[in-house]
Structures are given as structure tokens and as C-alpha cells.
């Protein structure tokens, strides 16, 4: 099926939204990961609902990046299973046996899992449009003109309509990261992974990238974000996951994990991050609603339903219409 901005609108209260295909269900079961003798992930179990926003917090070295990278099989797991919409990532399951998939199959699976890196990793020899169009052309075989037209739409969505033909090195860090987000969106992923997307940025550039990610939370894609921006986590997360030493210490809605942490380690970590960051921005006002987004926060116990993307759901600039292909079904 395909969805167009003109069809009957769904709301968050719709009991049976049939738009679930927009976001993928990620299931992580009993995942262990070792590098040699070092066990980095020690049994991770996590269910990430379709269309939900999950923020992963934790001290340095706790395995956050590694967990994220196992989700798209950049790191194969040592033990356990990861699946997206029921499809095991990196393996084909036959009863008790897991057959390693051929690279071609893994690449196909990755096209539905986008990733944004801390260090952007834009292709330095390609323009912004070239960067965004590359994966659809090479991985999905979209013709060049079509891919580039889409790329321009996506770059417009992230507010870079004046930077189409500019090379990454001629862009600011924040702009580069926005190109990287557009590049990840170009494959219409069911799941988007962000590994500290703002850590490499100057403080004044952080907000422009967070604004783009915030706009994505309304588009129905499942988002998994590793970040140290606590107030951002409070703002957008349905679930906050706190990791330490390769284990999930606690998880729950931000109001619980961030404001009433049950574990001493979480409290200590939040304390450390707060004293560092909150000295600068005076008042994150934990209970006040986010200023930009007037929509009420979803109930704490239920994950946010994937809503039908409205014409402006993704656009930073509300006058920009949402490109049709973003609202259509994922590639089958």
C-alpha cells in the first residue's frame, strides 16, 4: 500500500494505525559481544517498538557504540540474536542453526537500517547531492536523475537547499551532520541509528542538528540515539536506556530514568553529566513541556504510535512539502 499526504489522516488516537510499516521493530535478545578477551556486551535484552524513540545513555566504554553497530551488523555478535521486523540480522535461522548470510544479503538488510556517525563520514570527494544520492543509486539501483532529485528534496528538508553542489569540506560541522542525516534518510530506513551525532560539534551547532532529529521523531521511523544531551533525551525519548559495563542497568520513560533513577550508577552518571552540562544552560526545567513542540507527550508506559506523517512532519521549513516517496511504503 502507499500513503499520500492527501489520504485520510491518522491520529495518535487511532486504535489500529496501519502505518506500522514505517518504523521497524527491533528485538535484541541475549546479545554478547567480545573483542578478544574483552567482553564489551554482556547479555543485552531490549525491545524497541516500531516508531519509538530510544535514547541510550551511559559512561564512555560502556558499549553503546558497539550495541548500535551490532544492530546493522557492522559488528557481528558473539552470541544472541538481533532482529528487525522479525528478520534476523546477519544470519538465516534454521531451527537451532544460524547460517551466516552472504554479504549481498547483509547489504540488503542494511538498506533498511540507516546510521549516522559521530564523525559524519561523508564521502569527501562527492558533493552534498552526490553523497545523498550514492546509496540509492548503488544499493537500490535508482536511476541517477531520480536519485539526485530525491537528494535535493532531502537536503531541502534538513535546511540545506543552498548547499546542493558543495563538497563536505566546505560545510560547517553541523551542516555536514545534516547532510549525513539526509544521506541516511535517502534509503527510507525503517530504523535510524545515531551514534553521538552531536559530540563532534561546536556547542552552537548542536541545536541545528538536534532540531533535524527532533523533526524525525514525528515521521514514524524507529530512532535509536546514543547521546549525552540529557535535556534532548528528556524532550524526545519514549524510552531511555542506561548502560554500564556492557549491561543495561535500567530502562524506562525519561520521567522515570532521568528524574527518579532507581540505580545508584544511573544517579551517579546523571549527576556527573549534569554538573558538566547544566552549568552552561541554566534551566532545563525537567517537568516543563518542550517549548517548540506543543503536542502532548505520549503516555509514559506506551511507546509513541507511529503517526501518519503530515505534510510538514519532516520539514524544518513548514512551507516545504513532504516528498511523496517518504510517505510511501518502504521498498518491499
Amino acid at each position: 500500500m502507499s500513503l499520500h499526504p492527501g489520504t485520510a489522516p491518522h491520529t495518535d488516537t487511532d486504535p489500529h494505525p496501519d502505518t506500522a510499516s514505517l518504523g521497524g521493530l527491533v528485538e535484541i535478545r541475549g546479545v554478547h559481544k567480545s573483542f578478544g578477551d574483552l567482553e564489551v556486551l554482556r547479555g543485552i535484552d531490549l525491545r524497541i517498538d516500531p516508531g519509538s524513540v530510544t535514547v541510550i545513555l551511559g559512561p564512555s566504554g560502556s558499549g553503546k557504540s558497539t550495541l548500535l553497530r551490532t544492530i546493522n551488523h557492522l559488528e557481528p555478535v558473539s552470541q544472541g540474536l538481533i532482529s528487525v521486523d522479525g528478520e534476523v540480522i546477519g544470519y538465516r535461522r534454521e531451527g537451532e542453526l544460524l547460517h551466516e548470510l552472504h554479504e549481498k544479503e547483509v547489504l540488503r538488510q542494511r538498506t533498511s537500517i540507516g546510521m549516522v556517525f559521530q564523525s559524519f563520514n561523508l564521502f569527501a570527494h562527492m558533493t552534498a547531492v552526490g553523497n545523498v544520492a550514492e546509496a540509492p543509486r548503488r544499493a537500490l539501483g535508482v536511476p541517477r536523475r531520480e536519485a539526485e532529485a530525491r537528494a535535493r528534496e532531502l537536503l531541502t528538508l534538513v535546511g540545506l537547499s543552498d548547499k546542493f553542489d558543495v563538497y563536505p569540506r566546505q560545510l560547517s560541522g553541523g551542516q555536514q551532520q545534516r547532510v549525513a542525516i539526509a544521506r541516511a534518510l535517502a534509503l527510507r530506513p525503517k530504523v535510524l541509528l545515531f551514534d553521538e551525532p552531536t559530540s563532534a560539534l561546536d556547542p552552537e551547532l548542536v541545536e541545528e542538528v538536534l532540531a533535524v532529529i527532533r523533526s524525525l521523531t514525528r515521521a514514524g521511523t524507529t530512532l535509536v540515539i546514543v547521546t549525552h544531551e540529557i535535556s534532548f533525551a528528556r524532550d524526545v525519548a519514549d524510552t531511555v536506556v542506561f548502560m554500564d559495563q556492557g549491561r543495561i542497568v535500567e530502562q524506562g520513560p525519561p520521567a522515570e530514568v532521568l528524574d527518579r533513577p532507581r540505580h545508584e550508577r544511573t544517579r551517579a552518571f546523571l549527576q556527573r553529566v549534569r554538573t558538566g552540562a547544566e552549568a552552561a544552560d541554566e534551566d532545563p526545567a525537567p517537568t516543563s513541556p518542550p517549548p517548540v513542540e506543543p503536542s502532548p507527550a505520549p503516555p509514559a508506559d506506551a511507546p509513541r504510535r507511529p503517526s501518519h506523517p503530515s505534510a510538514t512532519a519532516l520539514a524544518l521549513d513548514p512551507t516545504t512539502p513532504l516528498p511523496r516517496y517518504l510517505t510511501e511504503d518502504h521498498q518491499s
Binding site: T111, M115, S119, T127, A139, Y167
Partner: protein
């Protein structure tokens, strides 16, 4: 140009520009330190940049210039160079034919060398230990054997293996069968010898370039589901080119001149032709000069090509591309054309 704080004459006359410039800034400071309400705001557009002087460079340039002049003078005036003979033979038909043969050898050996070199480099970086050791062994053998030996071995392959046969072993079926000495022309031996030798070096060169590309580029491409072939050819190689090109052109220029070694196979390329001629006419030096001048011409053409190809691949790697010599010349012309009104005559 507008009238300036420091008059052009003062800067020209004083050999060291620093006192004049220092004076200019001092006056500026003096104006600025005046009580704010009384002083009119300083007109910053009047400030002028005085370029730094480099007396050492001037001395060096003059020295080098003199040296070049002396050498050129001796070239022109020494009758032993026999410029008349050089001119007579420079465009001679046999020379041009030899030159074309040299170019043909260069192109073919270069294609074999860099084509195979790329394959070897990718093999060497393969995760499979077997494939990577095959590549390593190839480079090891072909870099350790002198080029002259390789050429003679290929040419004399017929002595080692009389016939070359392609078929299914232990059956009567053959697809191809020929006498080796019929197949192995001097040209083929030369292309094989030069090409395989070149490939061993090109492989290392390309591998180095590939290793210089940030690992994050490959990771991002894998995460986007881009197939391995495109990751190599579209993401990594174009970026590796920047590191590869300068040395690769060095190698190609070396190859142009390296083809002269093929004279041992009596193949009529430029250098062999030259030797034939001076063997007959005894005009050794002027003929060597003819060859040298042609090699200079080829190398110069390659250098121009190198400049533009390197420029092409530095797109995105530098914030702004420097102008090409042509663009610079045009810009200079454009600056000259409209008669500057304020310029000092």
C-alpha cells in the same frame, strides 16, 4: 587605486619595508588613541597591505638565473653539439616511427602495469590469506628480478618452452597450440617484461593510496548497503587517487624512458633507432640530443596532464581549488585591460 597611507615611492626606495610599515601603523595607533568624542572614526579603507619582502629568494633566483644562462649559452655556442645535425634528424621519418613505437610501448606496458597493479593491490588487501599471499609473492618476484633479465627471459621463452599449448590435460583436446618463438615477438616480450615489472611497483603504490583513505569512508558505505565493488571503485579509489597520482606519474615518466632498455631486444623504438643512426653516421652526441629532446617533450606533456588530473582528484579535498595557469593568465589580462585610473603611472 586610491591614494595610500604609505606612498609607493617610499616603499620602493627603502630597501627594508619594515620601518615604513611600522611608521604607518604607528600613526594609525596614534589616531585611534585620541579621545573618542573628538576623533573622527578612522577610515580603515585607507589602510594598505605591504607585502613582506624575501631578499633571500631574490638572491637565489638571480643566482639560478645566471647559472641557467651560462649553461644555455654554452649549449648554443659550442659547435660540438652540432645543432644543425639535431635539426636535420629531429623530424626524420625513422625517428618519428621510433618515437611512435616508444609511445605504443609505454601505453601498453603502462596499461598492463597499472591494470594488473590495481588487481594485485585489491588482492593484497583481501581478507583471504591465500589471495593476499599470491599478490605478495608476485610483487616479491617481479621486484627482485632485474628488468633486463625479465626482458631476456620473456624473449627467450621459446628456448625454455618450445610450444605453448592450451587444452585439457590427459586428453587429446587442444584449443590452442603454437611455437613459442613465433608468438614471442620483441614487442610482446617488451610489453610483458615492462608491464609485469611495472605491475609489481604499481601494486604497492596503489595499496599505499588505498590505505591512506579514512576507514570511516568504508564503514559509512557498508552501513549504507553499497556493494563491495562500488565501495572500492567509487568511494575508496577516487580518494586514494590523490595519494597515488604524484608517484604514479613519476612511474609513468620513468617508464617512458625505461622503454629504451628494450633496445636489447632489437626492437625499433626511439632509442634503438637513434643507436642505429649514430652507428652509421658517427654523430653520437647530436643524435643522443635528439632522443633526449623527444623524451623531454613527452615528459613535459605528461607533466601538464598530471597537473590537471591531480587537480581533478583534489576536488573536495581542498576547500578551494587553486586557479589553473590558464585562469591565472586570463585574470591577469582582465586586470590589465581596463585602464586603471588611480594607478601610479
Amino acid at each position: 587605486m586610491t591614494s595610500s597611507v604609505v606612498s609607493p615611492e617610499t616603499t620602493q626606495r627603502t630597501p627594508t619595508a619594515t620601518p615604513a610599515a611600522g611608521h604607518a601603523t604607528a600613526t594609525g595607533h596614534h589616531e585611534m588613541s585620541c579621545p573618542p568624542p573628538a576623533a573622527p572614526p578612522e577610515d580603515l579603507s585607507r589602510l594598505r597591505v605591504v607585502p613582506a619582502r624575501h631578499p633571500g629568494r631574490v638572491v637565489l633566483a638571480v643566482g639560478v638565473g645566471l647559472l641557467v644562462a651560462v649553461v644555455l649559452y654554452s649549449f648554443v655556442t659550442n659547435p660540438r653539439w652540432e645543432w644543425g645535425v639535431v635539426a636535420q634528424w629531429f623530424f626524420a621519418e625513422s625517428i618519428i616511427r621510433g618515437l611512435l613505437e616508444t609511445l605504443k610501448l609505454t601505453v601498453m606496458a603502462g596499461a598492463v602495469g597499472f591494470g594488473l597493479g590495481l588487481a594485485l593491490a585489491l588482492m593484497r588487501l583481501s581478507k583471504s590469506g591465500l589471495i593476499s599471499s599470491v599478490s605478495w609473492t608476485f610483487s616479491w618476484i617481479f621486484r627482485s628480478t632485474p628488468l633486463l633479465v625479465q626482458l631476456l627471459l620473456w624473449y627467450n621463452l621459446g628456448y625454455l618452452y618450445e610450444r605453448i599449448t592450451l587444452g585439457i590435460p590427459l586428453t587429446e583436446i587442444t584449443f590452442f597450440d603454437a611455437r613459442t618463438s613465433d608468438l614471442m615477438t620483441p614487442m610482446l616480450a617488451a610489453v610483458l617484461g615492462l608491464g609485469l615489472h611495472q605491475a609489481a611497483y604499481a601494486a604497492e603504490l596503489i595499496r599505499g593510496g588505498i590505505l591512506s583513505v579514512d576507514q570511516g569512508q568504508l564503514e559509512a558505505a557498508s552501513a549504507l548497503g553499497i556493494p563491495a565493488r562500488d565501495r572500492s571503485l567509487r568511494i575508496v579509489l577516487p580518494q586514494a587517487m590523490r595519494a597515488i597520482l604524484p608517484t604514479a606519474f613519476n612511474e609513468i615518466i620513468g617508464l617512458v624512458k625505461g622503454t629504451s632498455i628494450v633496445y636489447v631486444l632489437a626492437h625499433a623504438e626511439l632509442f634503438f633507432t637513434i643507436q642505429l643512426i649514430y652507428g652509421r653516421t658517427q654523430q653520437v652526441l647530436p643524435m643522443l640530443l635528439v632522443a633526449t629532446l623527444w623524451y623531454v617533450v613527452i615528459t613535459s606533456a605528461l607533466s601538464v596532464g598530471q597537473y590537471y588530473i591531480e587537480r581533478h582528484y583534489s576536488k573536495g579535498a581542498v576547500r578551494t581549488l587553486p586557479p589553473t595557469p590558464l585562469q591565472k593568465a586570463r585574470a591577469r589580462l582582465a586586470r590589465l585591460r581596463p585602464t586603471p585610473t588611480g594607478a601610479p603611472a
